[in-house]
């Protein structure tokens, strides 16, 4: 059984179709990179997986549980799926430690002490243990994004979703975040990553999905995608992104 399974997913904003019959799956331990031009629907695709955005047609299952079934306990399901956002979305009114423990305490009902131990373990892992008492606003973008990854990891996720995790960062900070992500991939974390960082894709992706105008145009192994992309649109996109 696939960890994440999308079948024929379509979504409209009013009369505008943002997702058009998207079907794909992510196996346990797989790393999938989703790319495509802006407005292609890739960010929406990753948000519907976590039911942060509703969709009108098709089905999505995470670990065998339907995301759109009204009977599904969404908070419980989401607590098992780690998510990292483009703009970090750390809670600015909470310290780094409090950011790391909020979900563990409120959702997983862990004791404050346990939550703190676990949260700080992951904070140490992303190399920011000395920042534990600061507020998000006092950290650089790259540091904030690493904290956000630690926050997601503290929930012991069965898989992780990344929504353009480096596109809001200054160039010199991109690598510190990618390094953490590469480490995760190598440990066997199941990951679905929306990104333009083709270097990351070459290094750790199993498959690459290319989207355009709400459709999955290409869904290929890494070698096939970079070696001989079938669609013209993917070729153009690659040419643009690799020659910049």
């Amino acid at each position: 059984m696939a960890m994440i399974e999308l079948k024929d997913v379509s979504k409209w904003y009013g009369s505008f179709q943002v997702l058009n019959g998207c079907t794909t799956s992510v196996e346990k331990g797989e790393v999938i990179v989703v790319c495509g031009p802006s407005g292609s629907g890739k960010s929406t695709l990753i948000k519907v997986v976590n039911a942060l955005e509703p969709f009108q047609k098709g089905t999505i299952h995470v670990d065998g549980i339907s995301v759109s079934d009204p009977k599904t306990d969404l908070p419980k399901l989401r607590s098992r799926v780690g998510m990292v956002f483009q703009h970090f979305e750390l809670f600015p009114h909470l310290t780094i430690t409090e950011n790391l423990t909020l979900g563990q305490i409120k959702v997983l009902k862990r004791s404050e002490e346990e939550a703190k131990t676990r949260g700080l373990k992951y904070l140490d892992r992303v190399g920011l243990i000395e920042q534990k008492d600061k507020f998000p606003g006092q950290l650089s973008g790259g540091q904030q994004q690493r904290v956000a990854i630690a926050r997601a990891l503290s929930m012991d996720p069965i898989c992780m979703l990344f929504d353009e995790p480096t596109s809001a960062l200054d160039p010199e900070m991109i690598n510190e975040v990618l390094d953490v992500m590469v480490g995760l991939a190598k440990e066997g974390m199941t990951m679905m990553v929306v990104t333009h960082e083709m270097g990351f894709a070459r290094k750790v992706a199993n498959r690459v999905i290319f989207m355009d105008r709400g459709q999955i145009v290409e869904d290929a192994s890494k070698d096939d995608f970079f070696g001989k992309p079938r669609s013209e649109r993917a070729q153009q996109f690659l040419a643009k992104i690799l020659h910049n």
Binding site: N50, P75, R78, M83, F85, H87, V107
Partner: protein, 229 residues
């Protein structure tokens, strides 16, 4: 003008402050707390995706904002006893004291204004914050309570306080119910001793000092918040 009588003020200071001002400040504090709590609920209702909840809250806020506070004071003064009787199943309108009636009136009225402030505050929080809360597995109330409202409230504190200064001034309108708030007390002394000039000038001065002083504090707070950001 030569007959300006400072003594009448000095003699009535105890009455003015211990009775009048205490009433005014208690009413202001209770109505502010109640108004902010109820106003926040109204704001959440207005932003809810349940259409009828949102419509009900919008209707309430617009109604309160369309009619004068004095008319609202009269409405509640007569309505609250009936509602009380309806709630308790009593046969006749129950007796509600002037103080309780004022607290209810000002809470219900100011909630409409506080709700507009809190709505703006909630809407100013980026959607990603809500997503991040949900993505952690927090439910609606947890996301609101731990992520959205603390930030919205903190951002809006200066405006909420400014509205509370307006509330403080508005409480003087309970005068029409012959209640001994600060202005009511001043007015009673003024009538009794025929010292209208002294008492009303003094009342104006006191209201000015309190309101102006508080507004300076709010300005300071605003600058502090601006620096922290």
């Amino acid at each position: 003008m030569g007959s300006f009588d400072f003594d009448v003020i000095a003699r009535s200071l105890g009455y003015l402050f211990r009775e009048g001002m205490v009433f005014t400040l208690t009413l202001t504090a209770l109505a502010a707390v109640g108004g902010i709590v109820f106003g926040t609920l109204l704001a959440m209702m207005r932003l809810s995706s349940f259409k009828w909840l949102s419509l009900a809250a919008t209707g309430y806020v617009n109604l309160m904002r369309s009619i004068p506070l004095l008319l609202v004071i009269f409405w509640f003064y007569f309505l609250v006893p009936y509602i009380g009787a309806w709630l308790t199943g009593a046969a006749r309108p129950i007796h509600v004291g002037a103080f309780a009636s004022s607290v209810i009136t000002f809470t219900m009225f100011e909630a409409a204004y506080y709700s507009e402030i809190m709505r703006a505050g909630i809407q100013s929080i980026p959607r990603g914050q809500v997503w991040a809360g949900y993505a952690l597995g927090l439910n609606y109330w947890q996301t609101m309570g731990t992520v959205v409202l603390p930030q919205a409230f903190r951002n809006m504190i200066p405006i909420l306080l400014t509205q509370t200064i307006i509330l403080f001034q508005d409480t003087s309108l309970v005068y029409v119910l012959s209640i001994t708030d600060f202005l009511g007390a001043a007015s009673k002394v003024a009538q009794r001793d025929s010292r209208l000039v002294e008492m009303y000038l003094f009342a104006a001065l006191v209201y000015f000092i309190v309101s102006f002083g508080l507004s300076l504090l709010v300005k300071r707070l605003q600058q502090k918040i601006a620096i922290v950001r």
